[in-house]
């Protein structure tokens, strides 16, 4: 799933922006520097989610993306609907979600999932 997201983002950046891919941005040994190009979330920004062993949290500047092992995906803003900063991971506005291959969303418990 992450590979698909990364490949899609890289292709969009290649085709829609004039900024070339710079592999230094993916190398954790390099000092960081700003870039005009968007890069896929790397391993150093992928985290576990307590209480949800099937879910990984990908961090970015304004959003958090949650991906479940069934392929479900949910993107949440770090802000609440009134624009204030959400204090919890799931407190921000949900911007997008798609169910996984088994019909369950990211936070949907196994026992109540759709068939």
């Amino acid at each position: 799933m992450r590979e698909q997201l990364a490949a899609t983002l890289n292709r969009v950046e290649d085709e829609m922006t004039p900024f070339p891919f710079d592999p230094h941005h993916l190398d954790s040994s390099q000092a960081r520097r700003p870039s005009a190009r968007m890069y896929p979330v790397q391993d150093d920004n992928v985290n576990d989610v307590d209480g949800h062993p099937e879910v990984k949290r990908l961090m970015s500047v304004g959003e958090q993306t949650f991906i479940r092992t069934n392929g479900a995906i949910e993107v949440r803003s770090k802000r609440m609907p009134d624009g204030s900063l959400a204090r919890t991971d799931t407190g921000g506005t949900r911007l997008f979600r798609r169910a996984g291959a088994d019909g369950r969303h990211v936070w949907e418990p196994q026992e109540t999932g759709r068939r």
């Binding site: 954790s28 390099q30 700003p34 576990d48 961090m59 802000r79």
Partner: protein
């Protein structure tokens, strides 16, 4: 206490009332990123810290998959810049910022002010300013909202200049 925790404590100390949300790597990893999201009276800054790589600062704190607008290589310069952004309600400048951003800054307008004139949200102006290319109609509206008028001219080394009209104008 690491550099990010120290930054959080310093901001909390100097700006009482600010909301600070610190996210540590889970599970802990030596090189993984820490995030500090700060809201001070509605003005927000996102800070990403990767040990040995430095701090990334972005305000407004929005965007997916985008790198930081600015980089601070040590804790002191990061703290100074974060406090400045919050106190002055200032924005970082994206390395992708285009001529529209430069023009707005030259006219001494904030993104909010330009957004109000265009009847869009501040986030829309932020996105406009990060685009590598803009529709002529969008640029024309933005310039008009700043009180100006967009004029285009095609110039040729071996002939007279030709004004270009009719593109991006209201029908």
């Amino acid at each position: 206490m690491n550099d990010m925790e120290a930054l959080k404590d310093r901001v909390a100390s100097e700006l009482p009332g600010a909301t600070l949300v610190l996210r540590a790597p889970n599970p802990p990893r030596a090189t993984a990123a820490w995030w500090l999201d700060i809201d001070h009276r509605g003005h927000q800054v996102a800070v990403e810290w990767k040990p040995k790589r430095g701090f990334g600062l972005t305000s407004p704190a929005e965007g997916f998959g985008e790198g930081a607008d600015e980089v601070a290589h040590d804790a002191e310069s990061a703290a100074v810049r974060v406090l400045q952004l919050l106190r002055k309600r200032a924005y970082t400048v994206s390395p992708a910022a285009n001529a529209l951003a430069a023009l707005r800054q030259q006219r001494r307008l904030s993104q909010e002010e330009l957004a109000a004139a265009l009847h869009v949200r501040q986030a829309a102006v932020s996105k406009m300013e990060r685009r590598a290319d803009l529709r002529i109609s969008t640029l024309r509206k933005a310039v008009a909202a700043m009180g100006g008028e967009l004029k285009m001219t095609a110039e040729f080394p071996d002939g007279p200049s030709v004004p270009i009209e009719g593109f991006g104008e209201p029908e």
